[in-house]
Amino acid sequence: MPDIVFLTLSGLVIVSAIFALEARELIYGAVGLAFSLIGVAGLFILLGAEYLAMFQVSVYVGAVVVLILFTIMLVRRESGRIVEEEEPGRLGRAGILVAGLVALAVAGAVILVVPMSLEAPEFHGIPLRELGRYLASSYAVALVILGILIGATVVGGLTLVKVEREETNSGAAQ
């Protein structure tokens, strides 16, 4: 009988993911996405990666979901509705078929091909120092590039959404 914690967490992840895509209101969808991401963080804890779980919660749910909510609130027409979500129709059914086939193929391929045993080895926790050591030595270049990328993202995002004002800056700029 499978572990009940794993079942609960995976149930949360899958159900919230489906809800995120199928909810009528986009805001509810964003909340569903947040729950799904929290479920993924729980799975990380189950797999022994506690620091990664906290990282996931604070970056994904704490920042990305906030951004998504904020954007949804800005992308509104006067009536309050964004876009009429019609029934999926033909494309939706094809979508389910494609998605199901891909998922089946991927799962089957990985399980059959993976060169390791499927049972969990002994695990007493990896000390956090090792992660820090890795990041500082082998992955140092990647870390620096990540920092530059974050800076570029911030600058790019701000530039994209800047509104072009035609009048010159009044004195209230300070």
Binding site: M1, D3, I4, V5, I27, Y28, V31, A34, E50, Y51, M54, F55, V57, S58, V61, G62, A63, V65, V66, L69, F70, M73, G125, L128, R129
Partner: protein, 344 residues
């Protein structure tokens, strides 16, 4: 972790429930230092705030409910429970109630990691510090949802202001404790308190303490950073449309967060449970926590409100620079070999 082999019988379920209820962790979570302690402390803090603010303003504060008004929080709670819960017609009631409950849960969550004595902590996490900050980063989204679900201008503006403010001050908060992590080499809150046996971190990390204190004030939306609740401008900020029991939950969540942040400041900078031995250790934690909370309340009565653009500019730039200077100071401390003071 429970592993259920096959379908459990009723006897097994009853045994399991009994075992959970009498386990130490459950008792800790429900009574002390968990739920009951946090609720009582949050209620106590409402009374403390009104008394201290009153004295700052040369008046007396609550006087009639019990000795010196100590039962005032109970009176408030009873009054709020009898009030009718009114929501605007077009407001999203489900989302509002869900988010009010979520706010309470989030406010309580960091208390699980705060140590109240040697080995006396509900959850001794090796990533305790990051856990607390991760939970704190979930607040802006919940408050934004409450402001949005109220379907009204003023709560929404209050929610937006709160979001901007809390997100801006998250980074200085994270960076200011980096000095402590560098000195102790661990994220475990129990070990951080143990490392302060000789010298509290408030001494070498004065700058970090100042930055963290300011950022905590901003996260708590207390004056001088209480723009989201600027009573002359926004009615009551994002809490405007809550009434009755949901309002009580939101209000209590604010004070729970105050208690938890004060306890966090005590743990990180003021030595946690360290103190002379004639008083048990948890009492020291509570004493220091309430002292920090009193200072926060006195600040509320003494400072004017900060303008919103100065508020955001301070959070994103000036406090960030101060936190970086703090890190440099810590690096200097370590390179002069002075970090033996905090090695256990």
């Amino acid at each position: 972790m429970t592993c259920l082999q096959g379908l459990p019988t009723l006897q097994e379920i009853v045994n399991l429930v009994l075992r959970i209820i009498t386990s130490r962790t459950f008792l800790e979570v429900v009574f002390f230092p968990g739920f009951l302690n946090v609720m009582l402390s949050a209620a106590f803090l409402t009374w403390l705030e009104r008394k201290v603010i009153a004295r700052v303003q040369l008046r007396i504060g609550p006087l009639y409910a019990g000795i010196s008004g100590i039962l005032q929080p109970i009176a408030d709670g009873v009054k709020l429970m009898f009030k009718e819960t009114i929501f605007p017609e077009l407001a999203d009631t489900k989302l509002l109630m869900l988010c009010a409950l979520g706010l309470m849960l989030l406010a309580f969550a960091p208390a699980v990691a705060i140590p109240f004595g040697e080995g006396f902590v509900i959850a001794n996490m090796d990533v305790g510090l990051v856990y607390v900050f991760a939970v704190l980063s979930l607040f802006p989204s919940v408050i934004l949802l409450i402001g949005w679900a109220s379907n009204s201008k003023y709560p929404f503006l209050g929610g937006l202001r709160s979001l901007f403010q809390q997100v801006a001050y998250e980074i200085p908060m994270w960076l200011s404790v980096l000095g402590i992590v560098m000195l102790t080499g661990t994220l475990n809150l129990t070990k951080i308190v143990e490392a302060q046996q000789r010298l509290w971190f408030v001494v070498p990390q004065v700058l970090g303490f100042a930055v963290f204190f300011t950022a905590a004030l901003a996260e708590l939306e207390r004056t001088p950073f209480d723009l989201p609740e600027a009573e002359t401008e926004l009615v009551m900020g994002w809490m405007t449309e809550l009434s009755g029991v949901p309002f009580m939950i939101g209000f209590l969540a604010m004070y729970t967060k105050l208690y938890v942040m004060s306890a966090l400041i005590t743990t990180l900078f003021l030595g946690g449970w360290s103190g002379p031995g004639f008083v048990p250790q948890p009492v020291w934690v509570l004493l220091k926590t309430f002292l920090v909370a009193s200072v926060i309340v006195v600040i509320r009565g003494s400072f004017p409100r900060v303008r919103v653009d100065i508020l955001l500019k301070t959070g994103w730039t000036r406090l960030l620079l101060l936190a970086l200077v703090n890190i440099l100071v810590t690096v200097a401390l370590i390179s002069f070999g002075l970090d033996w003071v905090w090695r256990i």
